[in-house]
Assembly symmetry: C2
Homo-oligomer: 156 residues x 2
DNA sequence: AGTGAAAAGCACTCGTT
DNA sequence: AACGAGTGCTTTTCACT
């Protein structure tokens, strides 16, 4: 009954180096990279197309300092949810504009939600909306005082 | 004694639209965008340079499906840390290759850590290393069974 | 699957307003 | 601060291997 159809993929040195460089700077030019790597630009273009098609690369984005845009408030919310409705609840919560991450976890709680807000009112409204959901048995909210690190990149 | 020198910045419609488009696709061309927006490519180029200089844009990256690269294990770790050493501890933990996020929170715990691993052994080693740190009074680890959502982009 | 070559597209700079 | 135009890069395609 798992819906997880992900599989690990063969990646050679070229794919790996390409991925590392795009993680470092998504706007870098394939041409310059191709010179460094002693392959043709066309090859890198093909490799990148394949990485995107296979879903290894989900897209390219700008990393933004949200505090400078007024999103000064983050929250880590843990919730215990009625098992029958967990998947539905997660889908619901993941579609929210304020939510950057949703993790299905094991332990005292079932879901961990990372969310961002412009002010206390917005966070309050989000939490109130959440709490009136009858699928939720219990929540624990940690208000984030300081985002020490937030970077989707890990060393691959 | 705050080290938070972040400030909110004036962003007009052009900045905002540029940012939204780069969040959507960081490899998009400024020229095409400039046509959509009825400004010159040179203006967009200047705007983007300014956004980067001001630190609103921290960089550009590829969004990667880490499960497809073998990082099938994530963990949400909460820690209660001796107050005197909190900042030092956070700096330490944030520099780890396996850590994508570190949040300074208020409540029962002081720090929330989001981390990724290839296997149970690596997670185990990370946790053991963490637990032998005398600054830590208490931890709570939630093993992530499923990453429902993980996307640094919020609607701005 | 990788390549070179060519055409189309693009970034970046600078002088002008 | 925004622009237009020019120069040199870059992507993308495609026929060939």
């Amino acid at each position: 009954m798992s819906t997880n159809n992900k599989r690990n993929v063969d990646m050679d040195t070229v794919d790996r180096k390409l991925l590392i460089e795009l993680l470092r700077d998504a706007r870098t030019s394939l041409r310059r990279l191709s010179e460094e790597m002693n392959v043709s630009p066309a090859t890198l273009h093909n490799r990148l197309t394949r990485l995107v098609q296979e879903g290894i690369v989900r897209g390219f984005t700008a990393l933004v300092d949200y505090t400078k845009l007024g999103y000064s408030l983050s929250a880590v919310i843990m919730a215990k949810v009625d098992g029958k409705h967990l998947t539905e609840f997660e889908r619901e919560i993941a579609s929210s504009d304020n939510v950057v991450a949703v993790y299905d976890v094991v332990g005292e709680y079932d879901v961990v939600i990372i969310s961002k807000f412009k002010n206390v009112e917005d966070l309050d409204a989000f939490l109130k909306q959440l709490l009136k959901n009858p699928k939720i048995e219990r929540t624990y909210t940690s208000i984030v005082l300081n985002v020490v690190k937030e970077d989707p990149r890990i060393k691959i």
